[in-house]
Symmetry: C2
Subunit: 451 residues, 2 copies
């Protein structure tokens, strides 16, 4: 078995980190990056030159005038990834599609088309839509409750995977000599009738290079962790300390094992910010400047998002953290609950909560190239992560990581020096699932052996 190596993803956010600071003001970043396909193409090509495993596109489908800048106007993930596919050759293309407001047949088809177009580099980040207001854009009065959201998600992924097995390999001989285009014995309807979806099939697209595009998942709630352990192959998460990262990764692996899955088939990639400078002090100063670029008022407004865009500006900043009732119960509930607990446990005022959250947005991966490489290696060797999903938006910042941190990690054998495959699954070292119908055929007794 080959040595385990660190996997590398880059989060392409367009403008701004994950709501953390006003990156668009950075003079090195085009202010309209979130809608500029050429900016995305350039970043993906850079990541591919640095042999990254994947680029990743986040998503949401609900905005208000108070939404963070980069949410207000951005390109739809799969439309964007298809454009990137034909200007790259090896890097994985991971897009976010919600199971709450997309039909499984359409999701299966779009991701499988991307897998064909990219030669086997498609990945699906399965989400259920945290913004409760999303319902209003899809003819629903209310967002699904948590059990329904995640029940639908699990069944949705199962249907999509079933549709991906519609055709076995070799279903299309396309032999011009004999005139045989198609072998109907290798086409299979799905005939799914479940609690939330009924899908007859078959999908109108033959087996793709990966057979099954890679499933990514990011939910942190109880239901989200269960979904990840059930169907996730790569888990995106947040990690603010090694202990937390290790506990999360161990838990997910144990949950997967309890479901009969091999823990090696599940990789954990925390999404992290990386800030690098010549010295640790300079790097910390750089992070201070980034965090400081976001106003208190903006941070106060964005606090509302996990609570279903609850308006916190109407409260006294120096009174105890307000009772917001069940705001957030159908939005980012886990995050909202954690903030309530933080306030309660520390008897924080609203101002203190906002300031604490700003401070806790600091990354553990800040410092000189040696410091950052050392921290990454340490977390990796200690079992805190299988890879990183890093957010750096300016090309110069990315160049610091690839030019100064990666060489150290490569010299130490932590990161491989070239692609090992042309598929995402191959580069991540994930097993290739066989087609269920081919497998069924293989284990059936052959006619000659039947009694």
């Amino acid at each position: 078995m080959s040595r385990r190596t660190l996997k590398l993803g880059e989060v392409l956010l367009g403008v701004g980190g994950p709501g953390q600071h006003n990156t668009w003001l950075d003079p090195r970043i085009p202010a309209n990056a979130s809608v500029d396909v050429n900016w995305y193409l350039a970043r993906a090509r850079e990541a591919e030159a640095a042999k990254f495993d994947l680029v990743f596109i986040v998503d949401s489908q609900f905005i208000t005038a108070d939404s963070p800048n980069h949410y207000l106007s951005r390109l739809e993930p799969l439309t964007l990834l298809s454009a990137i596919a034909v200007h790259t050759s090896h890097i994985g293309l991971v897009g976010t599609l919600t199971t709450s407001y997309n039909e499984p047949f359409n999701v299966a088809r779009r991701l499988y088309s991307l897998d064909h177009i990219s030669g086997g580099r498609a990945g699906w980040n399965v989400v259920t839509s945290g913004d409760a207001g999303t319902a209003g854009n899809y003819s629903r009065d209310e967002h699904f409750d948590y059990p329904t959201r995640y029940g639908r998600a699990l069944e949705h992924v199962e249907v999509v995977r079933g549709l991906w097995d519609s055709y076995e390999a070799g279903a299309f001989p396309r032999d011009k000599e004999s005139g045989v285009f198609f072998d109907p014995d290798k086409q299979h309807a799905l005939g799914h009738r479940g609690e939330y979806f009924s899908v007859v099939g078959p999908l109108n697209l033959e087996r793709s290079p990966q057979g099954q595009p890679v499933i990514f998942q990011a939910g942190n709630s109880e239901e989200g962790r269960d979904l990840g352990a059930s169907v996730g192959e790569v888990i995106f998460t947040h990690a603010t300390s090694l202990a937390e990262a290790k506990a999360f990764r161990t838990e997910l692996r144990e949950r997967a094992a309890a479901k009969g899955r091999a823990p090696e088939g599940l990789l954990t990639l925390p999404g992290i910010g990386v800030v690098i400078a010549d010295t640790d002090e300079e790097a910390r100063a750089k992070e201070d400047a980034l965090l400081g670029a976001k106003s208190f008022d903006r941070a106060l407004r964005e606090l509302g998002r996990p609570f279903g865009w609850h308006d916190f500006t109407r409260y006294d900043l120096d009174a105890p953290f307000p009772d917001v009732g069940d705001a957030g119960a159908r939005s980012f509930r886990t995050q909202a609950d954690a903030i309530k607990k933080l306030a309660r446990d520390n008897a924080f005022t609203l101002r203190q909560v906002v300031e604490h959250l700003r401070e806790s947005a600091r990354s553990p991966f800040v410092g000189s190239p040696e410091t950052v490489a050392g921290t990454i290696e340490h977390w990796f060797e200690e079992g805190g992560l299988d890879g990183l999903n890093i957010s750096v938006n300016a090309a110069e910042e990315f160049a610091l990581f690839t030019g100064r941190v990666l060489p150290i990690l490569r010299a130490r054998g932590v990161v491989r020096s070239d692609y090992e495959s042309t598929t995402l699954r191959g580069n991540l070292g994930l097993p290739v699932p066989g087609n269920r119908h081919t497998a069924a055929r293989a284990i059936a007794p052959s006619p000659a052996l039947a009694p």
Copy 2:
């Protein structure tokens, strides 16, 4: 006003004409063209070199083992068009999306993303899904009945257009000096509550180069014609004679005028096959060979499609055309009714119906370059069409059209010799719809003038 010129589209079908013959056997066409992105890229580049206005991708979401070869396995239209967008610069990109099984918010977003990525070249072919079996892939027991299908379609398009007006031009100053990213006064929720859809908005994507991607429509039923006259800007149709083409175009223009639309805002482009050779005789022989490549058995099976894939192989071929009841009532009803009428009016047997349909698949645009150019010019000048949506799959056939027919039409001033715009709307000469909110602002009295 500039001279009216003939518009040119190319139907990229992958493999095979519209169910007419087994093109995949042609040694000049890769047998897997329908899933080969490079084949599509090459064809789109050729069409762009010939200054075509657009390439067009058809679609369907339901197959059986009896479906025509090129339906069995093909790429999803918008995923494919996004890849083509970043390898072309001027040609329009028209994709088919059904209003029956896609949410308006998702449709608005994907087409608007394509419009951004392509710099203003997106078009939407609005369809309602003719195959009744499609319902089974989308958790429905039955396809929508005709009035519902088309009622939903009209409302769907209105919602999509409303979402495209979510942001006025200039909503994103993105001024790094002043720190102003966004002007919230230029963001508008939609607040649509209709019979079939409720969509709050706004769309999370700013105004695109075309403002509104171009609406294409193709239905031929009473409901389809009404939809086309209501919202269509380009109408795809079939035409077997000049008289028929002229009657259709006149009717659509009159219907549009009755709805208060300028008839110039509605272009009719018949989808036609073109067969060219040095002489008329050679071209006719070439067409005979193409039609003959399709077996009687295949033609008999494909007859089932307008009737909801009714199985015609179980009837006596030489008995009168069978009574199939209301098969097809929720599929391609208009086409099914026309076939029933044909059989009834002529007292045809089943075999005679199949043979008649094969014969009527002949194109009026077959002959020497001079003949074909002359026919096109005649139909155009007589008001039978505003352009052509041509289906030729082998590069050699396309080269005959561009190399020998187009120069004649250009010399006569029927076809322009270069692009006039970088947007599809611009090249088609269609008006650019203003943003409804900007228009409302413009007609409101200014505060200084108010009494």
